[in-house]
């Protein structure tokens, strides 16, 4: 990995290297360098997000139409946008914060409706149908290129994993004489299989996260080594 050592980029690269080292200093424990780096990242991110919102959202949508089109740009949607933006801005003061509840309610409501609707139509129903379709040994997924034997094996694993995981998350049971939950031995065995599947899933996700972190660490180490070589003329 080569580093372009122009004047501006050199400063940026050195700052990046220092911040990387400051973050890595957390290996020694919580220290001032790590805290400075974290506060710097948070501050820069917030400032950048604010500036970006002002430049790419507020100015082009609330100010630029007036400057370019004049009063002809004032429409109902434009006025509603202005009112909602002003009300939302009033949340900065505690005495007028209640006025900002209306745009907040609108945002939360619309967002929740979209998320739930999208989850039902985009994930829940398609995935349930896909699970049922996947139990057909004769059907072969078009993109995986699996063979018939692999398909049967996948169907069995999918069936056992789905049922056992659902049984594991079954929290109802018959009440015993002392109030304890009584579950049949079959339910306990299937639940154990479900817990194995859940553990495997978590293990795979952890392995993926570890691989991603190692890739990032490798990139940072490569960056530091390349910077050191560039500074040292190697």
């Amino acid at each position: 990995m080569t580093v372009d050592l122009t004047a501006l980029e050199t400063a940026g690269t050195i700052a990046s290297a220092l911040l990387t080292l400051m973050v890595l200093s957390y290996i020694l424990g919580d220290n001032v360098l790590f805290r400075i780096a974290v506060h710097l990242f948070v501050g820069v991110a917030a400032g950048y997000a604010g500036a970006l919102a002002l430049r790419t959202v507020l100015y082009p949508r609330l100010v630029l139409p007036l400057l370019s089109d004049g009063f002809s740009a004032i429409t109902a949607a434009f006025v509603v946008s202005w009112v909602l933006a002003l009300l939302l801005g009033l949340k900065a003061w505690p005495s007028t914060a209640w006025l900002g509840s209306l745009p907040m309610a609108l945002l939360v409501g619309v967002g929740a409706a979209l998320v739930v609707g999208g989850a039902i139509t985009g994930t829940l129903v398609p995935q349930a149908l896909a699970t049922m379709d996947s139990l057909d040994p004769s059907a072969v997924a078009p993109l995986t290129g699996e063979t018939g034997f692999e398909r049967v094996a996948n169907v069995l694993i999918l069936l056992i994993g789905t049922i056992s995981t659902l049984v594991y998350f079954r929290f109802t049971a018959r009440r015993g004489p002392l109030g304890e939950a009584l579950r049949s031995p079959l339910s306990i065995a299937v639940s154990f299989v479900g817990s194995v599947f859940i553990a495997l899933t978590f293990g795979v996700m952890y392995a993926g996260a570890l691989a991603a972190a190692l890739a990032v660490l490798s990139e940072r180490i490569q960056f530091l080594v390349g910077l050191a070589r560039g500074l040292l003329g190697g």
């Binding site: 991110a45 993109l143 570890l210 180490i221």
Partner: protein, 696 residues
């Protein structure tokens, strides 16, 4: 009421003589057996032989007094005991009718205690009564017989009191006494009415003179026999010495004058027990049980409270064992017994005129707490345990938590060792170029489909790249997305970028510039940054519905960031809607944002493929969208190994290959650390289990 009428024994209602049941309460008026008629009329007379000598003496005394006082013979049809009681009220000579003295008429209204009257205001009828009383007292004093051995009970009582060393014979060992047969109890004497206002010329109190009842007091210096009057009868010392209680001082001697003396088996509170009455009782002849004898020993010097006669009575309390068995708070534990003066006179029934009668009906009707068995909680053992647990939890909430002791600072040697090993493993290939790991020979299952998909993309339609990851993941995702971008640029496919994160557009510019420089890609001609898409899922759906209306301005545009200017660039020429893009490539590091794009924008892609370039951590959650029979994701590129394989397929080594050696050695060290850690944990568990087993 005529003599033929019948009074109801239950409610005292007057009923006709021929009635068999009370017209009010329905109680039977005529007995079902012949013997009950007598019991209703009055207590039966004891049979001859059943009554002892004491009862015979009572009869003789009553008859003698009746003869001397000119008492009328008993009326036919009336019980004998009632005839004997009648002189108590009829013997008194009262004032003539209509000549009620003024002081009495005044006192009737106020119902106050006895008042002093002037001597000159005593009427003639009262003066006659007093004269006769005086005469009787004198005659009685002269006729008083010498105290017999049996009548000397008071003297013996005093001797026992003041000579405690004298052994007392148990009651059960007195053969010379004959216990009276248990028979009907003689009618108790009706209590005198409330003390009338005593005139000023009332005789001196009993404490100073002889008893006003005409009974002969024992001669001074001689004391009655103890056996005739047991100490538990509550005779006070003052009374034994001739003193009269204060409450009795107010009572005039005329109140008991002429009444037939009916000795009570139990001494009435506050009444003096004279030797005469004691001799009548013949208490010593009664076979008293041992427990009663013990009481007699203990009650020797306990004087009754003259001020409150009723207080000396034992309260009606339940014993402890019975109290424990009693239902909770259903009855009053103590029944208050009022003072004698405060007790009401029975006004109805066979006990009419008597004071101090146990009020059966008021006790029954006494308000009490309801005893609903259903109101009690039937708590099981488990419920009790849960309630106790909640109680302890609430108590713990209220308790103050002490300051936490400072944790002992320990140096994280294990963390340092693992970090050092990882750093060394990752840095060695970069510093020394060794070890060099071979590239993966196995191609990921979805990679050929992705390469085929990219090869089939139309060259006249731009590809939308969604840079939805944070800068922290740039090290991985830049290397993973690099081969795809390189492949697209090799085919001269125009690129448009967008991001729902503020840091997305700079990351896109950085990556495209780094890769596109080699392919001569220029901003505004070969690629364009649509910029930041604020609003989360709503903005994604809005952008998928109408891309031109959802974005206000681009990023790093060559001209003024206006909506028209951005969409008028040659890169976006021909793009009117979301499906006009040749493909949608989502580069995401999180599951949520990847799923948002699949859910919100997937239905609007049309025939355009949706490619997911994901971090290795979210690949398991993306796979279900890809491996379905009706896939929602058309291709997946995830992880550094897949990127290295893609680079090999492209025939050009990129960032993925540069990171491969460091990544490989780092993964090797991480896996070794995991294995060693697992072995250490298993060994610790086994050691703890063995220690616990040996201790148990």
């Amino acid at each position: 009421m005529t003599m033929a009428d019948v009074r109801c024994p239950m409610c005292s209602t007057i009923n006709p003589a021929d009635a068999t049941a009370c017209s009010v309460c329905g109680a039977r008026l005529k007995p079902m057996i012949a013997g009950e008629a007598e019991s209703l009329a009055g207590p039966p007379e004891p049979q001859e032989g059943e009554a002892g000598d004491w009862l015979a003496r009572i009869r003789s005394e009553v008859e003698r007094k009746a003869e001397t006082s000119g008492e009328a013979p008993p009326r036919p049809g009336e019980p004998e005991w009632l005839n004997r009681l009648r002189p108590a009220s009829g013997e008194e000579e009262g004032p003539p009718e209509g000549e009620l003295p003024e002081w009495l008429s005044e006192e009737e209204g106020s119902a106050a205690g006895p008042s002093e009257a002037a001597p000159g205001e005593v009427p003639d009828w009262l003066a006659r009564i007093r004269e006769r009383q005086k005469t009787e007292l004198e005659a009685a004093a002269e006729e008083a017989p010498p105290p017999s051995a049996d009548d000397d009970w008071l003297g013996r009582l005093r001797r026992e009191e003041f000579l405690p060393t004298e052994p007392e014979a148990p009651l059960g060992e007195e053969p010379e006494r004959e216990a009276p047969p248990l028979g009907p109890r003689p009618p108790s004497r009706p209590l005198p009415p409330s003390s009338p206002p005593a005139p000023a010329a009332a005789p001196p109190p009993i404490s100073a003179t002889a008893p006003p009842s005409g009974r002969i007091p024992p001669p001074s210096g001689e004391k009655p026999a103890v056996s005739q009057a047991p100490p538990f009868m509550g005779i006070s010392k003052d009374l034994l010495e001739g003193a009269m209680p204060k409450w009795l001082e107010g009572a005039g001697p005329s109140s008991d004058e002429g009444l037939p003396h009916m000795p009570a088996l139990v001494a009435e509170e506050g009444l003096a027990v004279t030797p005469e009455s004691a001799s009548d009782l013949q208490m010593g002849s009664i076979d008293i049980p041992n427990w009663l004898g013990d009481l007699r020993k203990d009650a020797g010097v306990a004087p009754p409270d003259a001020g409150a006669p009723g207080d000396s009575l034992a309260r009606a309390t339940l014993p402890a064992w019975l109290e424990a068995m009693r239902p909770m708070d259903t009855f009053r534990p103590v029944v208050e017994i009022q003072a004698e003066d405060a007790q009401e006179v029975e006004s109805a029934g066979p006990l009419a005129g008597l004071r101090g009668v146990l009020l059966a009906e008021p006790v029954v009707a006494m308000p009490r707490q309801p005893s609903y068995s259903g109101a009690r909680l039937e708590v099981t053992e488990r419920q009790f345990a849960l309630a106790d647990l909640i109680h302890r939890m609430v108590e713990q909430e209220a308790s103050e938590v002490g300051p936490k002791p400072p944790a002992r600072r320990r140096l994280p040697f294990s963390r340092w060792a693992i970090a050092g090993a990882l750093f060394l493993a990752v840095a060695l290939p970069a510093l020394l170029g060794a070890p060099s790991l071979s590239v993966p020979t196995l191609v990921p299952p979805g990679l050929p489909a992705l390469i085929t998909l990219v090869d089939s993309l139309p060259g006249d339609r731009p590809v939308l790249l969604v840079f939805d990851y944070e800068p922290a993941y740039a090290g991985e995702l830049d290397a993973v997305a690099g081969p795809l971008l390189e492949d697209l640029m090799q085919r001269d496919i125009r690129l448009a970028t967008v991001s729902t994160r503020p840091s997305g557009p700079p990351l896109a510019e950085r990556l495209i510039r780094r890769i596109g420089d080699a392919h001569g890609y220029l901003n505004g001609q070969d690629y364009v940054h649509l910029g930041y898409l604020p609003g989360g899922p709503a903005a994604v759906q809005l952008f998928a519905r109408d891309p031109r209306e959802s974005l206000a301005g681009g990023f790093l545009l060559a001209q003024e960031p206006t909506r028209r200017g951005m969409w008028s660039t040659p890169v976006l020429a021909g793009v009117q809607q979301f499906s006009d893009f040749g493909a949608v490539v989502i580069i995401a590091a999180g599951t949520e944002i990847a799923r948002t794009w699949v859910e919100q924008a997937g239905p609007w892609t049309g025939a355009s493929p949706l490619v997911m370039v994901a971090s290795a951590g979210i690949e398991p959650l993306i796979r279900p969208y890809y491996e379905a029979l009706n896939p929602q994701v058309d291709a997946v590129l995830s992880g550094l190994p897949a990127a290295v394989a893609y680079e090999q397929a492209n025939g050009r080594a990129g960032d993925a290959r540069l990171l491969w050696d460091s990544f490989g050695t780092g993964m090797l060290v991480a896996e070794m650390a995991l294995i060693l850690g697992g072995m250490y944990g298993a060994a610790s568990f086994l050691l703890r289990s063995g220690t616990g087993t040996s201790e148990s």
